[in-house]
């Protein structure tokens, strides 16, 4: 549909050519640009606009019918709270709210676990490693939801979350969150909205705001497991407990 964008430019070029060479065309009798021509142009343009308007109204849903994710006003307080709570729960040792879980898996492991990153990405998940007495050669993995707010809408549930891939002794984390959003906003000219029900305030933001957080991975590992992780990204729950 990118070709559609060219149509106005094409028309502008046509009109420009007409303006420049119209007189020559008239003289050569190719066609004459007289006042009928101008009125035909004006009214055909209006006709085209009418058709487009009718199409726009009939074919596409109204603003109320558009599916939109829930508004942040409704969901954000609870989400923020829940997100922060995860960390606290982990430190406290209680199992976090399962509704926030994306996945929970169990893996077999020997003596070491190597955590690596693959691919290029910017958002690194928070990794909490908890050493536990009970885990024997197994690692429990809990992955918790991040959140994503863009321009007052809660897109969390639209996120595509890729779980880390587990190898024999390795956990490879690649880009966990796939988020592709095309946000289009349309606003009428404020000058003419003066008396409509919306008034002059625009629901328009020329900047867009977003809030997001990365996923949280909570690993419960055997007590003696050697954890190799780059960049000191891993947080050990015991240390956190001590700090408190």
């Amino acid at each position: 549909m990118g070709a559609l964008a060219l149509i106005p430019f094409l028309l502008i070029i046509v009109i420009f050519v007409l303006l420049m060479f119209g007189k020559t065309f008239s003289r050569q009798g190719i066609f004459s640009i007289n006042r009928k021509f101008h009125f035909i142009v004006a009214f055909s343009f209006i006709g085209v606009l009418f058709i487009m308007t009718i199409l726009a109204e009939l074919l596409y849903p109204t603003s109320q019918e558009i599916e939109r994710p829930p508004h942040t006003e409704d969901t954000s307080p609870s989400r923020f709270q829940a997100y922060n709570k995860i960390e606290n729960d982990i430190i406290a040792g209680s199992r976090a709210n399962s509704s926030l879980l994306v996945a929970s898996r169990t893996h077999k492991v020997d003596e070491q676990l190597e955590i690596t990153y693959s691919g290029e990405f910017y958002d690194f998940p928070l990794i909490y490693v908890e050493r536990s007495e009970e885990a024997e050669n197994t690692i429990e993995e809990y992955v918790y939801k991040p959140f994503m707010f863009v321009n007052d809408y809660d897109y969390t549930d639209k996120l595509d979350i890729h779980l880390p891939t587990w190898g024999k002794d390795t956990m490879t984390i690649s880009n966990m969150v796939d988020f592709n959003l095309n946000l289009t906003e349309y606003s009428d000219a404020s000058l003419f909205k003066q008396f409509t029900s919306e008034g002059n305030n625009s629901t328009f933001s020329s900047s867009f705001g977003s809030s997001s957080a990365t996923p949280i991975i909570h690993l419960i590992v055997p007590k003696d497991l050697e954890v190799i992780a780059p960049f000191d990204d891993v947080m050990f729950v015991e240390e956190l407990r001590e700090e408190q």
Partner: protein, 297 residues
């Protein structure tokens, strides 16, 4: 019916007095020539009659109405001069269509035929025409509009001699077929002598003469004869022009003679002939003493 009534009308531009206390009437369905020297106020007078400018004092009535800003006068008058403008985007054909819309008596066939005859292509835009062709175009509009009052202000400006003849002939033919009141100003009096019925001569901020063209001619007389025979008249104050070749003298003077006196002159061998309107005009408006030669002496 009197179409134009002018009583004690005065018009000045800034401090310069153009027309002072002038008085005349113009009757319906006459062809009047408005003549005078350059800058004497012919155009001013015609503009006032057409309602484009206001009089400073006095009463001017056209169709019994004050012509300034008047819809009745405007609908029944057309003013043709070389400062007429039309929308640039309109062709001759388009303009004729608008003329048809505004002028009730517009004859489109006549206009089209005249313009074809004059070599004006209907799809041309007037502003690109040469001065002469544009004058022709304006003149065509004046003739074909058949307005009850048609005013031509020097319509033959830029026209060549052939076209001028054609214009006068066309105007006369249409005027005879569809009578209306026509005012025509021109410098070429000798050309329009045969066209005009009446003449309005403006000179020195006043109307020097208003009447039929024959009356104008009869104001003066040309006497031709030997110096000996014309001796009495040569010294008279009424002499306007004097030409001497050897002993043969041509004398133009004011006509104060009766028919009997003319008889006597003819018996005496003096040749009496009429003066052309142009000569009469020159005589009336020229300087009484000296001429251009004095500038060079």
């Amino acid at each position: 019916m009197t179409v134009i009534t002018c009583q004690n009308v005065t018009k000045s531009y800034r401090s310069y007095n153009v027309l002072n206390d002038i008085q005349f009437d113009i009757k319906e369905n006459t062809l009047t020539g408005i003549i005078g020297r350059n800058g004497v106020g012919k155009t001013t007078l015609m503009k006032m009659i057409a309602g484009y400018t206001e009089v400073d004092a006095g009463k001017l009535e056209v169709f019994s109405e004050n012509p300034f800003n008047n819809l009745i006068v405007s609908s029944n008058t057309v003013f043709i001069d070389d400062t007429m403008t039309f929308p640039e985007s309109m062709t001759i054909q388009d303009i004729f269509k608008e003329c048809k819309r505004f002028f009730d008596r517009w004859d489109n066939q006549l206009a089209t035929r005249l313009s074809t005859y004059s070599g004006l292509h209907p799809k041309t835009k007037p502003y690109i025409l040469s001065k002469g062709k544009r004058s022709i175009f304006h003149a065509i509009i004046g003739i074909a509009s058949r307005s009850p009052l048609t005013i031509f202000d020097e319509p033959t400006n830029g026209m060549d001699a052939v076209v001028r003849k054609d214009f006068y002939r066309a105007l006369l033919k249409d005027y005879i077929a569809h009578p209306r009141t026509i005012l025509l100003s021109s410098h070429h009096i000798e050309e329009i002598e045969n066209l005009l019925e009446d003449v309005l001569l403006i000179h020195n901020q006043t109307i020097l003469f208003h009447g039929s063209i024959t009356d104008l001619q009869e104001r003066f007389i040309t006497l031709m004869g030997t110096e000996q025979k014309l001796g009495n008249y040569m010294d008279s104050d009424d002499v306007i022009a004097l030409q001497k070749i050897d002993s043969y003298v041509t004398l133009t003077m004011k006509n104060r003679f009766t028919e009997q006196e003319f008889e006597v002159m003819r018996e005496n061998g003096i040749h009496v002939s009429n003066v052309s309107a142009n000569d009469a005009y020159v005589a009336l408006t020229g300087k009484s003493k000296g001429g251009i030669d004095d500038v060079f002496n």
